[in-house]
């Protein structure tokens, strides 16, 4: 079984365009990146300026604040929800693509799916680490400890380890096809393991710390809108990272091929490198 490389059409570098940080200026990737940052900024601003503070325990009196009667503590720590939950959901959605492209690779043996799965896992690692950090800061405030083996935190810790294991596995295999296959298999299994891990950490009562159940409840529009804009903004940023990395991987492969061709060319003309110098566009030749 040979590993197929993708068609040359996809890997042609657009070297003629004007570049900003490696991308052509009018690239749609920038549109999405801008949109992603606008949405996450909207989330950020709305979370602090528009969304009401969530009520906590009753206090001993009643005060009127900004025209509303307040008789509970106002909980600022809940604000983390507008950022932490989107990034956590995002990490899981991106991890799905590791498994998805793993399945696609096993079905087709097409190398591009291995690259895609690898990049999806990289983005997962970023998101999982960000989830851990934001969740941990919340834990530090709410429970006064830097680490608590709470189901959500534990699950994300395990997920981080699984993602790291994915890269350890990749790095310890030389053979390209074997690396791709094993990584695909492990990606699928790890993706299955993460929800099981969450379910079981919740099912099994831990004697050390109680399971904290946050009631879902209904969200006000002023809470839902920043939440959703944060979620979509982060997914867009994840997608931009994915696309940029994919482009880079594909180009890098190309560069390696050209370098190899150039080295060969010291003795004889290699057809690959001449065709690279003047790319043939379909319809032109």
């Amino acid at each position: 079984m040979g590993v197929k490389t993708d068609s040359p059409k996809e890997v042609r570098p657009e070297v003629a365009d004007k570049k900003v940080l490696g991308l052509s200026k009018d690239s749609w990737i920038y549109t999405f990146l801008g949109l992603g940052f606008v949405l996450t900024t909207l989330d950020f601003l709305m979370a602090f300026l528009v969304s009401p503070l969530v009520l906590g325990a009753k206090v001993s009196g009643v005060r009127v604040i900004g025209g509303a009667i307040v008789q509970n503590q106002l909980l600022f720590s809940q604000k983390i929800f507008y950022f932490h939950v989107p990034v956590a959901l995002g990490s899981f959605l991106v991890f799905f693509f590791t498994a998805f492209y793993g399945v696609r690779f096993l079905m087709t043996k097409d190398k591009i799916y291995d690259t895609k799965a690898k990049i999806a896992t990289e983005v997962t690692l970023l998101f999982v680490i960000l989830t851990l950090i934001t969740g941990d800061l919340w834990t530090r405030f709410e429970w006064g400890q830097w680490w608590v083996w709470e189901p959500r935190l534990t699950t994300y810790f395990i997920m981080t380890l699984l993602v790291i294991a994915y890269f350890v596995l990749r790095n310890s295999i030389e053979d390209e096809e074997r690396r791709a296959t094993y990584a695909a298999v492990f990606g699928i299994v790890a993706f299955l393991d993460a929800p099981i891990s969450f379910a079981i950490t919740r099912m099994i009562p831990s004697s050390v710390h109680p399971v904290v159940l946050r009631s879902g409840g209904g969200l006000l529009p002023t809470q839902l809108i920043p939440f959703l804009s944060g979620l979509f903004g982060m997914l867009m940023i994840a997608w931009v990272i994915y696309q940029v990395r994919l482009k880079e991987e594909v180009l890098r492969e190309r560069v390696e091929a050209v370098k190899a061709a150039l080295e060969d060319d010291l003795t004889a003309d290699a057809p690959t490198f001449t065709s690279f110098a003047k790319p043939e566009t379909p319809g032109q030749s």
């Binding site: 079984m1 096993l106 395990i158 380890l161 699984l162 790291i164 294991a165 350890v168 596995l169 310890s172 295999i173 030389e174 053979d175 096809e177 074997r178 791709a180 296959t181 094993y182 695909a184 298999v185 492990f186 699928i188 299994v189 790890a190 299955l192 393991d193 099981i196 891990s197 379910a199 079981i200 950490t201 099912m203 099994i204 009562p205």
Partner: protein
């Protein structure tokens, strides 16, 4: 191996079953001759117990080791099983046995099941030796208040998961540069939910007390779900691992 080759000529019903028996018999016969797996795993487990003594040496007289007995046992089994799984495939690879198996027209899932059952058997043997030894060394004070039947049941459930998923992971890790290190890195996070459920179920059997029946069955349900999902995945994906 030759047994498998002979068997393959006989077509018809029950072929897979005979192939399965042949591979499993090969592992058992080899083990009976060399006794390598069980002795190495057993000695490794005993050494773990020595480490436990060191770990618990400053815990004081008031400390009740029964509270963490299940955790200690599973800890020993996890490390022992990693040793065993790694060895079982290093053998196959060193002696060219895996390649030979792959050349023969044996269904890949059959190879998986045979190897997994073989690993499960060795793991269970080590566990059966270990438990009385562990109780003898650590659990002498205090009377036993739990329900004994729960312990073997939870051990069996957990060992099935370890052997099933571990067989898949060991097949991968034996073909990497890091071998046993890679196995540990892949194995422990993947096993985490199973181990949590196993320790909970076994603790219910060791300690008894309020609500231990419910704790046990919750743990067993979690073990069952994990085993079913992960072994199904391992079984389905094994073909690709062997093909690569």
């Amino acid at each position: 191996m030759s047994a498998a080759a002979v068997q393959q000529r006989r077509a018809g019903r029950g072929l897979s079953w005979r192939q399965f028996k042949a591979i499993l018999r090969k592992d058992i016969v080899m083990e009976l001759r060399t006794k390598e797996m069980v002795t190495s795993m057993g000695i490794y487990a005993m050494l773990t117990l020595v480490i436990y003594q060191v770990a618990l040496s400053q815990s004081g007289a008031a400390f009740d080791p029964r509270r963490i007995a299940a955790g200690l046992l599973w800890l020993a089994f996890v490390f022992t099983s990693m040793l065993g799984l790694n060895r079982s495939f290093v053998h196959e690879k060193d002696q060219g046995c895996l390649e030979a198996l792959l050349l023969s027209p044996v269904d890949r899932p059959v190879i998986f099941l045979a190897k997994a059952i073989g690993n499960l058997l060795f793991l269970l043997i080590v566990e059966i030796i270990m438990i009385p030894f562990f109780s003898f060394l650590f659990l002498q004070q205090g009377s036993y208040q739990g329900e004994f039947w729960m312990i073997p049941l939870s051990l069996l459930g957990g060992s099935i998961g370890i052997a099933g998923v571990g067989t898949m992971l060991a097949t991968m890790s034996v073909n990497t540069k890091g071998k046993d290190f890679v196995l540990a890195v892949l194995f422990i996070p993947l096993m985490y939910p199973l181990l949590l459920a196993c320790v909970s179920a076994t603790t219910a059997g060791v300690l008894g007390g309020d609500g231990h029946i419910q704790q046990f069955w919750t743990g067993m349900a979690a073990i069952g779900a994990y085993d079913a999902i992960m072994i199904a995945a391992a079984w389905a994906l094994y073909e690709f691992i062997l093909g690569a």
